[in-house]
């Protein structure tokens, strides 16, 4: 897989009249899982949409490697960045297979939309479904699947794009613990294979466990960035989330290392 570094510098974004992002910069390296955390309204989703190239109303630059996003055609960009927004929807009664195949849209030739998928497309789809373990869900309509199964299919769609950069917005919403861990493991595997993965997460435990670097947003600005240990300090958590560790206990940092996924 091609590798690419994602860089954002001095991002300023307004949503309507409100300032959503104030001078944000970040660098996401290939092979790494970068997590964006912060309270509701801190601007996490907006930042991710700017990185994905689907938000046009911002100042600053986003680059993939050495090339700026604005200089790419939309098709080029689509092949480099795979994006999964929050609460993904499917409007028609498509099957899991069909949804995953939509990940190959950037590769379809313009006037050949009636033809079948190419061999390369087929292979990408099969590999993606295997990686997310939803081959047996393939013929079923996505609207009949459970939350966890649906998220696997959406992830498969993202993987099918075979893009070097993967951006995912709160993939673990509404999933039970098994599914949450599974989902993040898939993303971590992608990163380990050379992908650049950036995620917006709500759950601090999961963020601490899976991410290589974190970006903590507060009041539309970067409050802290670095490794989880550097970012998730009592001082930062107090400022951003207004929470404090129980009094009297020595603070050992968040420690989920002993938790394991239950396999049957």
């Amino acid at each position: 897989m091609a590798v690419a570094k994602l860089t954002a510098s001095a991002i300023q974004c307004h949503l309507g009249t409100q300032l959503a992002l104030n001078n944000i910069s970040l660098t996401a390296e290939p092979g790494q899982l970068t997590g964006i955390i912060g309270t509701n309204g801190a601007g996490k989703s907006t930042l991710l949409s700017v990185l994905a190239g689907v938000q046009s109303n911002f100042r600053g630059h986003v680059s993939i490697g050495n090339k700026q996003l604005e200089q790419m055609t939309s098709n080029e960009r689509a092949r480099h960045i795979a994006y999964l927004p929050q609460n993904p929807q499917v409007h028609w009664d498509l099957t899991a297979q069909q949804v995953t195949e939509l990940g190959r849209v950037p590769y379809r030739r313009r006037f050949n939309w009636l033809g079948p998928l190419t061999a390369a497309d087929q292979q990408a789809v099969t590999a993606a479904m295997a990686a997310t373990q939803c081959e047996d869900l393939a013929p079923r309509p996505i609207q009949s699947l459970s939350n966890g199964e649906r998220m696997r299919v959406h992830l498969a769609r993202v993987l099918a794009v075979k893009a070097p950069i993967i951006l995912v917005d709160e993939p673990t919403t509404g999933l039970d613990p098994y599914q949450q861990i599974h989902c993040l493991e898939v993303l971590r595997d992608e990163a380990r294979q050379g992908g650049t993965v950036v995620m917006v997460l709500h759950d601090l435990d999961l963020a601490a466990r899976f991410c290589d670097q974190l970006l903590l947003l507060h009041n539309n600005q970067v409050l802290s960035h670095g490794s989880p240990a550097e970012v998730l300090t009592p001082a930062h958590l107090l400022t951003a989330y207004r929470i404090k560790p129980p009094a009297g206990l020595a603070f050992n940092g968040l420690n989920l290392a002993n938790w394991e996924k239950q396999t049957d």
Binding site: S49, A52, G53, V54, S74, N75, R77, A78, R79, I81, A82, Y83, L84, P85, P88, Q89, V90, H91, W92, D93, L94, T95, Q98, V99, L102, G103, V105, P106, R108, R110, W113, L114, R157, V161
Partner: protein, 335 residues
């Protein structure tokens, strides 16, 4: 029932062709005391007075071709609007696009504009249709549900209907006021080659625009944001569908009046056969619409019911109960 897409298209094409030929050849039922006229083909073969030829060229061919064109346009526009608004109840007649087209056309015709410049007739219809689609899209485009869409349609239909009646009543020509029946119920009777020439190319232009947007409708099934991330130019797609729909529906209504429900029934029936693929559904709906309208027109012309029934009555008799059924289905889904 699983039938491949190519086979489906072939089936629709063959059916349309057969119905087209039937429409040309079948005798009209006339209240004649010396029996019904024979198949036109027979007449053509022993024709020494050119009458059969005149009937074929000036009456039957325009009528059948318009049925084909308008049917295809209505089916295509229905599927396109459903893809654009992502709602299975969107249809030019139901949501007021046809009604507005009728208003535009009546304004162009009864003010005498179309007498000076014949092209003003379909252009007026297109302008009316465009206004309605734009209003609908701005109201119900983003995240509005079925209720908003249907309410907007009711409002647009009410305004367009009232204004059309006003235009007709204000016309100094005493026949104008009664012609509201034609505009609101639609008819293909006695349309001429001139009507085909006026509306045909514009409808074809609409088809091209909509089909250009076809592949993008697939990505749009995942929502506008995801579609954009997959490289789709959402704005362009929306504009193509809006203008394409206005061209198809506007030009068609200008020469036939409002024929409703074709764009509702056809996509719904064919959706499963196209495996829910919105792009394939566009093509299939065009074929299905042509088939439906040709069949309905043959029924109207050849079945004896005294004076000829208006085409829109037939499509409404079929489509309105279907519409109710769809609403019930959606309600149970939402619950």
């Amino acid at each position: 029932m699983h039938i491949g897409f190519r086979k489906l298209l072939l089936l629709l094409a063959v059916t349309t062709l057969c119905l087209f030929c039937l429409s040309l050849m079948l005798p009209s039922n006339i209240l004649s005391t010396n029996g019904a006229a024979p198949f036109l083909l027979l007449e053509l073969l022993n024709d020494d007075t050119d009458i059969a030829q005149t009937i074929l060229i000036e009456l039957r061919i325009p009528r059948a071709t318009l049925a084909l064109f308008v049917g295809a346009s209505l089916g295509l526009a229905g599927a396109a609007m459903q893809g654009l608004l992502r709602n299975p109840l969107a249809e030019p007649g139901v949501v007021g696009v046809s009604g507005s087209a009728a208003l535009g056309a009546t304004l162009a015709f009864y003010t005498g504009l179309a007498t000076i410049a014949p092209l003003a007739l379909p252009l007026g219809g297109i302008a009316g249709a465009l206004a309605a689609v734009i209003v609908l899209f701005s109201m119900a485009g983003k995240r509005a549900g079925t209720t908003t869409l249907l309410l907007a349609g009711i409002a647009i239909n009410a305004i367009a209907g009232a204004l059309t009646a006003l235009v007709l009543n204000l016309s100094p020509n005493p026949f104008a006021a009664m012609e509201i029946i034609f505009w609101q119920m639609g008819s293909l009777a006695d349309r001429s080659l001139l009507h085909l020439q006026l509306a045909g190319p514009l409808m074809a232009a609409g088809w091209i625009l909509i089909l250009l947007a076809a592949p993008a409708t697939r990505a749009l099934s995942l929502g506008e944001v995801t579609a954009a991330s997959l490289g789709t130019n959402v704005r362009t797609t929306q504009r193509q569908i809006i203008v394409g729909t206005a061209l198809c529906v506007g030009a068609g209504v200008a020469v036939t009046g409002v024929i409703g429900f074709v764009g509702l029934v056809v996509p719904h029936l064919l959706r499963k056969l196209c495996a829910n693929d919105p792009a394939k559904l566009l093509l299939a709906s065009a074929g299905g619409g042509a088939t439906l309208l040709l069949a309905a027109d043959i029924a109207v012309r050849c079945i004896p019911v005294g004076t000829e029934l208006k085409l829109g009555v037939i499509t409404a008799l079929l489509g309105a109960p279907f519409f109710l059924y769809l609403i019930f289905q959606l309600r149970t889904l939402e619950q």
